[in-house]
Amino acid sequence: MSENLIEVKNLRIAFPTEAGGWHQAVRGVSFTLGREKLGIVGESGSGKSLSGRAILGVLPDYVRIEADKLAFDGIDLRAASPRQRRHLRGGRMGMVLQDPKFSLNPVMTAGAQIVEAIRIGDRRISRAAARKGALDILHSLHIRDPELVFDRYPHELSGGMGQRVMIGMMVVREPDVLIADEPTSALDVTVQMQVLSILDELVERRKMGLIFISHDLQLVSRFCDRVIVMYAGQIVETLDARRLGEAQHPYTKGLLACLPEIDGPLTPLPTLDRQAAWSQLP
């Protein structure tokens, strides 16, 4: 990839522990993101979400973040002021979270939240124009009746619809990078595919970079170009999404094997035999 939107080198994230020490949750993660779809897969506690949040700069301030390089489009994020980072977050980077129930403001209508997102970026846009922009976005998210959804409160929307509104809020400012943290895990299977295809369409059309964080290796490999597999705060393997079957690391293989399948055998599922060596620093 010639143009790197995001460049992360040796990212380390640590939490203070009860005993007064530090717990290293992310231990030396490096990757780059171009205008592509990059999946980050791992189990809970693997540090995948933390890495995404560190890029956005939305981790609590008691967390210690260190990196040799943490850059967005040539801007050094470590040196950026809070104001500058906020500016980036609002305009050029966006984040879609797992559950729209918790990430949308419950006392504002869906439309008002998109309008707000538009007008925070540029105060000169009139309310009417912003409203039109919001309706256009909702329309582009394959919502049949945008006017109806516009005036609804989050609790009146289904999970899939809420997630579309959330995506709408994030893409309305045309960010260069979208970080989606388990964007479909809270959704039903039949809705999951719709939301994914909407996301796919947006990324393709606007030539965005997408980081798709998920625990579901199968899903990520179907959707992304490249997949990073994380374990215990480290990257164990980076794969071409189409060549999942050629995974080398026993952890990746184990993750693939332990899933039950609708037409799979009924013999006991293979379980992961976690090796201490996987979590040792190289």
Binding site: F15, E18, A19
Partner: protein, 299 residues
Amino acid sequence: MSTMPTHTIARAQVRAAQFKQIKSFCRRFARNPSGMFGFFILVALLFCAAFAPWLATHDPYLPNLSGRLSAPGADYWLGADELGRDIYSRVLYGSRLTLLIVGLVIVTSAPIGLLVGVIAGNFGGWVDTIFMRVTDVFLAVPKLLLALAFVAALGPGIVNAAIAITLTAWPPYARMARAEALAVRNSDYVNAVRLAGASEFHIIVQHIIPMCISSVIVRMTLDMAGIILTAAGLGFIGLGAQPPLPEWGAMISTGRKFIFDQWWVATVPGFAIFIVSLGFNLLGDAIRDLLDPHLKARP
């Protein structure tokens, strides 16, 4: 089936596990400097109350008219009041009264409020309605006014002041306990024991009250400062401890007359109230940071 284990759950091991919890709490508490400061004040207060006879330089009740309103000095460390009684000794003995009132109010109001709230929250329906409307009635009356009316009816005195403060102090506990109980009673872990056939009494005692205790403790420590101030207020207007008892509020009240010329008479007990309230507030804040389930920001 697997082989029968040879030994059973050992009490000692259960105690060890519980002890570990307490130790972890203490360790985290020790890392909070302002909490430690508050704790230190509380310990100092307890120490003063326990050893007042040994720490005092004079009899707190014995007037000495020749030493009336003496300024702080070698003889009277913190001065003497209008009857020539040593203020330092009186403040020391006053800490006993303060602790007595705080203790009386806390051991009565917190359990009453906790029980009312937990029962209302767990059972719901008309029980909830009756209990909470009664609570609302108590909350609707201004605190000091209710205490005043009560003391006026029963006559002034330390115990009556404590009862009066209790009357006004329990409703917030009931509110809080009810809110906790409402959240806990439909949680999966309570449902699980309910499904095992547990009685509602068992659920309340074993499951709901333990979840309310931490909020109650937090509220209690934060409340103590308020109780001290209310008790001092009642003493100040002459409805709390009666002379010659060295109650801090009453001491300020008598010192008021000399505030411009003999400032120490009112200032020293006032300072004592200030220090002790501050201590309880700092302690309460620290405990809240550690215990409050709604503030679990850190892992």
